[in-house]
């Protein structure tokens, strides 16, 4: 039984944890990341892979844009690829009401400097001939991109390790306590870790640490029902999303089409299971065939889901603990954490090392749950 002393302990080896470890280690901090399974095993590894800039929550844009620059520099920064592609993102409206919504999103995006193209019905079919008549209007954001979530987190973890971070996989934290101005973590293997700062990015399991320090957030688990098809002739370049939530899909250069749909499925973090009801798969198949009829004979070969952490107001918790100096939270990314992952890691490293980050993160404070949580309209739409 040994005690390891480190500057920063990070609990949770998802995308947030490994990026935080990377940025801290790069600035010379001793970092230990503790992951109960293997890095990127949960939400970080099973999500859709969208690096979407259109249609984000307005307060998230500074973080989002900062993060996108890091994704765009991934290979140089990390030393490995993650199949990053600047595909652009196509947002589809099926009627006038949705069209108005698209316009609203577009204005917000533009106010943060994003270049958004508005496309009417004639141009839609000219530019994307595979698109059915169902889409009456669309907005296209050129800077949006996609990447392979299965590859990203392990690659960043390796880069963090090369910078000197210790990455402990298959290691469970059994207890966390205040120790002087820092923290002491007990591990399941009997070892202990002493640290000055502690980052809680344990995803659907983050409440255990938050509650230990007298904080709370109404986190609940759910999963994105997804499927992938066989390889099909490559025709669909952008990442595509219907604003009504019925389909999000993209085609990778190998030809497979990946689709995520709503409503979300139930997920069980204890049993580590998130089964996909076949009825949801069928609904998603119908929705995809209606918007891209050329895919009618494309075959689904596998479904999957995963365990993501959600909050009822559909925005994450990012920021310092309200009760405990030196503790930082980053969890509950409500299914949109992939894109902002690197930005969150960078901001956390700045908060820890510089005491502050230039990126505004007030909307994400855990203190908002002191009063009753507001329930977002998005929440009502995306779940059943």
């Amino acid at each position: 039984m040994s005690t390891q002393t480190t500057d920063v302990a990070i609990v949770g080896g998802g995308l947030i944890g490994v990026w935080t470890a990377f940025f801290l280690a790069r600035r010379g901090q001793r970092v230990t990341l503790i992951e109960k399974g293997v890095v990127g095993e949960q939400s970080s590894g099973v999500n859709f892979g969208n690096l979407r800039l259109q249609g984000r929550l307005p307060g998230q844009y500074p973080l989002s844009l900062r993060s996108q620059a890091l994704w765009e520099d991934f290979d140089a920064l990390i030393g490995e690829g993650c199949e990053f592609e600047q595909t652009g993102h196509l947002y589809l409206a099926y009627d006038e009401e949705e069209h108005a919504k698209l316009e609203g999103y577009a204005k917000v995006s533009e106010s943060y400097g994003l270049a958004i193209e508005r496309i009417g019905p004639a141009d839609l079919r000219r530019r994307w001939p595979w698109l059915s008549e169902r889409a009456v209007a669309a907005t296209f954001s050129e800077r949006d991109a996609t990447a392979n979530p299965r590859l990203a987190t392990p690659a960043v973890a390796r880069a963090a390790a090369r910078q000197g971070a210790a990455i402990l996989e298959n290691t469970r934290v059994t207890a966390v306590d205040r120790e002087g101005d820092g923290f002491a973590l007990a591990l399941a293997d009997g070892n202990r870790i002493s640290c000055v700062a502690l980052v809680n990015c344990a995803g659907a399991w983050a409440m255990e640490i938050a509650e230990r320090f007298g904080e709370s957030a109404p986190v609940f688990p759910a999963g994105p029902p997804q499927f992938v098809t066989e390889p099909f002739p490559y025709r669909i370049a952008p990442s595509v999303q219907a604003i009504d939530g019925s389909v999000i899909f993209r085609q990778i250069p190998r030809g497979n089409i990946i689709l995520a749909g709503y409503p979300r499925t139930a997920a069980d973090p204890q049993a580590n299971r998130a089964p996909v009801p076949p009825a949801k798969t069928l609904a998603a198949m119908r929705a995809l065939a209606r918007v891209a009829p050329m895919l009618a004979q494309c075959h689904v070969i596998r479904v999957w889901s995963g365990i993501e952490a959600y909050l009822p107001d559909m925005i994450p918790v990012i920021g310092p603990s309200e009760t405990t100096p030196g503790l930082f939270h980053a969890f509950g990314f409500c299914g949109h954490g992939f894109q902002i992952g690197p930005g969150v890691g960078l901001c956390l490293s700045e908060m820890i090392l510089d005491g502050a980050t230039p990126t505004p993160l007030d909307p994400f404070s855990i203190t908002r749950f002191r009063t009753a949580a507001t329930v977002s309209e998005k929440f009502r739409k995306e779940f059943d």
Binding site: R127, W128, P129, W130, E230, P231, F232, P233, Y234, R235, I236, A237, R254, G255, P293, M294, A296, Q297, H299
Partner: protein, 104 residues
């Protein structure tokens, strides 16, 4: 697909009506009840080219498990050759034909 010496060798005749189908534009003579795969492999055609390389494939398990014998149909469908019987006038291809519109 180049025409070459047939892979399959028929040793038992079928007594059903003849069926003509085409594969990559060339006529294939078969008998009702033949599987598409048997008809192709008896006539000297292969079945497809792997998407991730150029190597030809000619099926493998012949019982619908390995999924290595899917062919394209002019009617827009896709057919697993070993578990589908031939039908008159089928127009099949080893590679995808031009689909609605070009890439976008």
């Amino acid at each position: 697909m180049e025409r070459s010496q047939a892979q399959f060798r028929r040793v038992a005749r079928r007594s059903g009506p003849p069926v003509t189908l085409s594969f990559d534009g060339r006529p294939i003579n078969a008998t009702a009840g033949d599987s598409v795969l048997a008809a192709l492999l008896e006539s000297g055609a292969f079945v497809r080219r792997l998407e991730f390389g150029v190597e030809p494939r000619a099926g493998f398990c012949l019982m619908g498990a390995c999924q290595d014998c899917w062919v394209w149909s002019a009617a827009g469908g896709r057919i697993r050759a070993c578990t589908t019987s031939v039908s008159e006038g089928m127009e099949l291809f080893a590679e995808p034909q031009d689909m609605a519109g070009s890439r976008g």
